[in-house]
Symmetry: C2
């Protein structure tokens, strides 16, 4: 049964992921970065963006789609911004570099906006929005998704991706607040999960090209993901794509490569990461205490009948992070098998085997 | 009948609005700024944010809620940011100053983020997101709304406003693209309009405190506006409020003053305006042509059955701007009467009277 899950320690999964990348030809430091960030995605519950993606990433590396020895450069720069060219490197490597650039610049500029082109799929948006938190900074991240599953409002051509936004805001004793959301009602990964389980889709996730509700996930390929708030979510996906893609000379609209269906083309993925230094705006602790007060006001406010707890963005991910750091990351047997198959292809020890 | 509308020339309405503010004690230059921006709101079709607000603004000025002679200052500053203290001045005056500050800083910094506290209601978000366009810049604006009509997801206490986002992106022959949206399915003004007309509300706009659909606009006071995309819109409203309010030391959550119901308290309204210089990221015309191509790809893409035209954000506002600049701004008789009543109170010539 593919529904059996196994708890794998993060260290073990990290080591496996790194040796898979190294076996595929990646330098050890980049492999370590990718492994660390992919396993962090799994720890925070972003299951569709963690090691689940490893076979696909390796396939695209072998297909020549990704540059394993990219020359990461700041192509343009001013006091409050930088434009990073990722030279078609792994998205995680490029985005770590871009985020570190934003943090370094924000230390003197107060706020720094870093655009990115020539990147690749970089995992969940929250990874990068959360990096500035440790520096007493707010992180704001936008990206162009790596497959178009949405049409402009009123249209049927797939010209837009689920372009996400993520924002991380530090608290004092509470938080951090970490929002990470696609601009569609449901992410495409959720549709795929329902299809695997043979479940129908809730109304409002997808429509077909006549505008009728589509609830059979086996028909997903002929469907369109619906944006949140109708035309509003279309507007957000478009604007986030302009800021993360078009502004940086990265792919947007027709130029977006469906990286699920293509193992050899560069995606020219675009991102934007903004680091906002709290100390530029005032007393850091004072800000954090205001966030705490807001969090508590919300959490302790009156609830609808039947509601157990009012959640803050990022609260569930943090609980998963604690649980999984302690007890291991739950991997379905089907995923574990596909990782072991990958190990045999790469001639490396499998997830549960010793790496020595 | 209040449904009769009159077309009033923009110049006439601007002159009337300015003399009303001057009669209420505002310096002439600030009155001119407020009049210009309020009438611009009407020209672009933001009817609920233009001269419709004048009686309320004057009432709050007379109630001592607004400082007519604010000392606008950059309270804190670094290369990529500034924090403007509006000293409780009129929102339009404060936000024009803040946006000009952002534009000036972005000329050297490439990107500049300006936070604002101590401001007031400033009209539609699009006004400020569009100001950087003439400087070949993208504008991004966030604000904390001036009345809480939304609860946290799962809650019933009104702790959140319809905190909007607006983004303006220049094109070459097309555009500009100007998105301006609240994070709720419907803005509260739309509910009020339906109530005035005796119409019911569409499902999905509001719920009552048991979570049931609320479609009778006369019951709006006991209802909650629904966020777009459910918990996602709640997350956006929260994050935009943190960035535009909490970060700047402006009101957010419980501290938000309902300025519709209060004529004497300072609102400490918060905003954020970001100016992004296109030339910092690359060739300006090249960027604009990429925007044009994207706009055309979207507009010319295949349509759902029954859809006449695929719209880009800002397209309808631009059409209204052209129509109203030429033929005048349509004011319902009821609004015209309330403005003439205001004129009598202020002992100034009415909208249709000569000002000489």
């Amino acid at each position: 049964m593919s529904s059996v899950t196994n708890r794998i320690a993060a260290d073990r999964l990290r080591a496996f992921t790194a040796r898979a990348f190294v076996a595929a030809g990646m330098p050890a430091d980049h492999a370590a970065t990718c492994a660390e960030l992919m396993v962090r995605a799994d720890l925070t519950g972003a299951d569709g963006h963690g090691v689940f993606r490893l076979p696909q990433y390796i396939r695209r590396i072998k297909g020549g789609a990704v540059n394993l020895r990219p020359r990461l450069v700041v192509a343009r720069e001013a006091a409050g911004m930088a434009l990073v060219d990722g030279d078609n490197g792994m998205g995680h490597v490029v985005m770590r570099f871009a985020t570190e650039t934003a943090i370094a610049k924000a230390k003197t500029a107060g706020v720094a906006w870093v655009g990115v082109r020539g990147s690749n799929h970089a995992g969940p948006a929250s990874l990068y929005a959360a990096m500035p938190l440790a520096h007493d900074m707010i992180g704001l991240y936008l990206a162009v998704g790596n497959a178009n599953h949405m049409a402009p409002w009123g249209g049927i051509d797939l010209l837009l991706s689920t372009n996400p936004i993520a924002v991380g805001v530090p608290g004092y004793e509470e938080g951090p607040i970490v929002l990470d959301m696609a601009t569609t009602v449901a992410a495409y990964g959720k549709v795929k999960t329902r299809a695997q389980r043979g479940e129908t889709l809730p109304e409002g996730w997808m429509i077909d090209r006549q505008g009728n509700s589509l609830t059979d996930p086996r028909r997903a390929a002929e469907g369109l993901l619906l944006p949140i708030g109708g035309y509003k979510g279309y507007g957000l996906a478009l604007i986030f794509g302009l800021l993360a893609g078009t502004l940086n000379g990265a792919a947007m609209g027709k130029d977006v490569v469906d990286f699920n269906a293509d193992d050899s083309s560069a995606t020219n993925t675009g991102h934007a990461i903004v680091a906002i230094s709290l100390s530029a705006f005032g007393e850091v602790d004072e800000f954090k205490r205001r966030v705490d007060r807001l969090v508590r006001d919300i959490r302790e406010s009156r609830k609808m009948p039947g509601v157990e707890r009012i959640l803050l963005p990022g609260e569930q991910s943090r609980a998963k992070f604690e649980d999984r750091s302690r007890d291991g990351i739950p991997l379905p047997s089907s995923l574990l098998e596909s990782l072991d198959k990958l190990a045999r292809e790469l001639k490396i020890p499998g997830v549960l085997e010793s790496a020595s």
